[in-house]
């Protein structure tokens, strides 16, 4: 039973505010991922929860107790570092048991916990090795093992996969998720990789410039981002943003783009955008919702979208097509069988049920409730 909550937490370094008053509650056994670009304050937030950074203002509670002035060792947390921070002169089992040995646990209890963690992480054969004799992935497992044996209230992960190569990263991602299912503990995980955030999290916290942009389940962030930052950060390749004007034509609402392309909005979105008619807005449309023309699936409303490809990138599963609308570059995701060629005009289909309209000034996505 461990809930972590942050109340108006501020971190200030000599005049610079790295974290600017964030509120967040992480439920018991929940897996929460803090994600954002470098310098957004996510690592600082994690280190404040760990007690490695002092809190300038606000309060952090673990399990109902304010821990602002509690040293890390008494917070009952375990942390996995980006470069693993294994003790190089100790064997794997010594590394894992270090915390327990300091707390003078009985020997057979230590043995039992280390063996148990080694079994979960599949590193039973490595227990007598030194860290330098291990591969990156194995070191990562040991670092997790060191966290697991402590049986802490909260797990903290600080970009644990950034030092691994792409293939291993995917493998370890699955591993972390599996471990969390076997050992369900409240977890705070920091990463700059939105794919990691989406795949691992029960809830994702998107941070930017020291504040929380949005908190939500992965699919919620993907489908209903509240700000331009979140819309652009989640999803790969990122969402296209096109300047446009919202016009009315009879009953229909139309989005007019820079080079004269006009897209008719589906009937069900009319209500949402009616009050913005006549305004200059920004159209947000993900590459996966701008595809080759195909028979619409149930209820899909598509609008034709003419394009002349500049660059074609075959990805195997999809082919990414880049083209220009006015001065803005747009990416579309096509089926490889459509076989687009550079310079040959094509007509794409824009799935307007999935589009967003944004306020160009505030960057807020229109028609969503403001972050509460």
């Amino acid at each position: 039973m461990a809930e972590v909550s942050l109340h108006k937490v501020v971190k200030r370094y000599e005049g610079v505010e790295a974290v600017r008053g964030i509120d967040l509650t992480i439920g018991d056994k929940e897996f929460v991922v803090l994600v954002g670009p470098s310098g957004c304050g996510k690592s600082t937030t994690l280190r404040m929860i760990a007690g490695l950074e002092e809190i300038t203002d606000g309060a952090i509670q673990i399990d109902g107790t304010v821990v602002n002035d509690v040293p890390p060792k008494d917070r009952d947390i375990a942390m996995v570092f980006q470069n693993y921070a294994l003790y190089p002169h100790m064997t794997v089992s010594e590394n894992m048991s270090f915390g327990l040995r300091l707390k003078r646990f009985p020997k057979d209890e230590i043995r039992r916990r280390v063996d148990e963690a080694a079994r979960i992480l599949n590193i039973e054969d490595l227990l007598e090795r030194k860290p330098r004799q291990l591969s990156g992935g194995q070191r990562q497992r040991v670092a997790m093992g060191r966290a697991i044996v402590r049986n802490p209230k909260v797990f903290l992960f600080d970009e644990p996969l950034s030092n691994l190569d792409a293939k291993l990263r995917v493998q370890m991602r699955t591993e972390i998720k599996r471990v969390h299912q076997q050992v369900p503990v409240t977890t705070v995980y920091v990463t700059h990789d939105q794919v990691e955030a989406m795949t691992l999290a029960d809830r994702v916290v998107v941070m930017n410039d020291g504040v929380i942009e949005q908190v939500g389940a992965p699919n919620e962030l993907y489908h209903s981002p509240r700000t331009r930052f979140v819309a652009g950060f989640i999803g790969s390749p990122s969402m296209n943003f096109l300047r446009c004007k919202l016009d009315r034509e009879g009953e229909d609402l139309m989005v007019r783009l820079a080079d004269g392309v006009a897209l008719t909005l589906p009937a069900e979105s009319r209500e949402r955008y009616r009050e913005h008619v006549g305004r200059e807005l920004v159209l947000g449309l993900r590459p996966e919702h701008l595809t080759e023309t195909r028979p619409p699936r149930n209820g899909e409303v598509v609008a034709p979208f003419p394009a002349v490809p500049d660059v074609v990138e075959p990805m195997g599963m999809d082919t990414l097509v880049y083209f220009r609308v006015g001065r803005e570059e747009v990416c579309a995701r096509m089926d490889p069988s459509a076989n687009p060629r550079v310079g040959e005009p094509i007509t794409l289909a824009a799935n307007l049920a999935r589009m967003h309209l944004l306020d160009p000034g505030s960057g807020l996505v229109l028609g969503t409730r403001p972050t509460g």
């Binding site: 760990a50 470069n83 003790y87």
Partner: protein, 306 residues
């Protein structure tokens, strides 16, 4: 066809010679050759000559083998110098190491802005030529007019015969050696401290280690190689120390503060028995060589553990 075969068979040895000359390792060897010769001239020749001298009689006319050593082993003063040198070197190195370690920690924890200043100031004793600074110490130790005894007098204490009494004289030479040598340990340990990743300390902090446990389980093991090499280095240099003892006590009172170098100087140069002096200075070499081999083998075995 046969022509080309012949031509190539002739060309082969010449080409290999040229290739050998062009190989990077050959070039590197040739470029370091002047230095190798210089070291040979400045180190190996004197060392060999000292060994040669040690086997001659006082007039340097006759080969006596180990005769000089047999003579030394029979003399009480020699064994006293051995004992004195060991006390001097070991005590000084231990204290230099401890003080260097503690001071390195303090300096390491100074915010980086002010750190340069402190590092510079703390290196001063090591940078001043020892003969000069030892002279200053000699004045501080003067029995009648010195600052130390004046301060003691202010508290009503009796003056201390800093260089006149055997025990105080030993204390004084060791103290000066520590004063001069500690900054070397400090700077080596500081470099070692800086190479320990901060995240190890953070991990230890979360694992629940207090400051003492962090030093014992993280800092010391991470610094073991540097500690070993620095101690070995300092041990050799301290055993061979000459200037401090020479200036401060000149071996007195009653030869009780002599170390190998000063006694060797006394015997060899001042008393004119150069072969005997050479024997004295060579006596420690095998012991230090064995210590060096053991310590360095351990260092190599551990390698870089990071």
């Amino acid at each position: 066809m046969s022509q080309t075969a012949q031509a190539s068979s002739v060309a082969v040895p010449r080409r290999t010679m040229r290739q050998w000359l062009k190989r990077p390792s050959t070039i590197a060897f040739l470029m370091t050759l002047p230095l190798i010769l210089l070291i040979g001239l400045l180190v190996l020749y004197p060392a060999g000559y000292a060994i040669h001298l040690a086997t001659l009689n006082k007039g340097m006319t006759r080969f006596v083998g180990f005769g000089n050593f047999e003579f030394l082993f029979g003399r009480e003063t020699f064994w006293m110098v051995v004992k004195q040198s060991c006390i001097f070197a070991i005590t000084a190195v231990v204290f230099k190491a401890i003080i260097g370690f503690v001071v390195a920690h303090f300096v390491h924890n100074i915010p980086s802005k002010g750190q340069r200043k402190w590092r510079g100031m703390l290196l001063v004793p090591w940078v001043i030529p020892p003969a000069m600074s030892t002279l200053a110490w000699l004045w501080l130790f003067d029995p009648s007019y010195s600052a130390f005894n004046w301060v003691l007098a202010q508290f009503g204490a009796d003056p201390v015969p800093w260089t006149g009494d055997a025990y105080w004289a030993r204390f004084s030479v060791i103290l000066v050696n520590i004063w001069i040598g500690s900054p070397f340990f400090m700077i080596m340990y500081l470099a070692a401290l800086k190479s320990v990743p901060d995240q190890l300390y953070e991990a230890a902090l979360i694992d629940g280690a207090n400051w003492w446990q962090r030093i014992w389980y993280i800092t010391l093991p991470m610094m073991r190689n540097i500690i070993a090499i620095t101690a070995l280095f300092s041990l050799i240099v301290t055993f061979a120390n000459f200037d401090i003892v020479r200036i401060l006590t000149a071996g007195g009172p009653l030869d009780l503060t002599h170390v190998f170098a000063t006694w060797s100087f006394l015997v060899g140069i001042e008393s004119g028995d150069i072969p005997l002096g050479a024997s004295v200075s060579l006596f420690m070499m095998p012991f230090l060589a064995i210590a060096a081999v053991i310590i360095l083998r351990d260092v190599v075995k551990r390698g870089s553990q990071a």
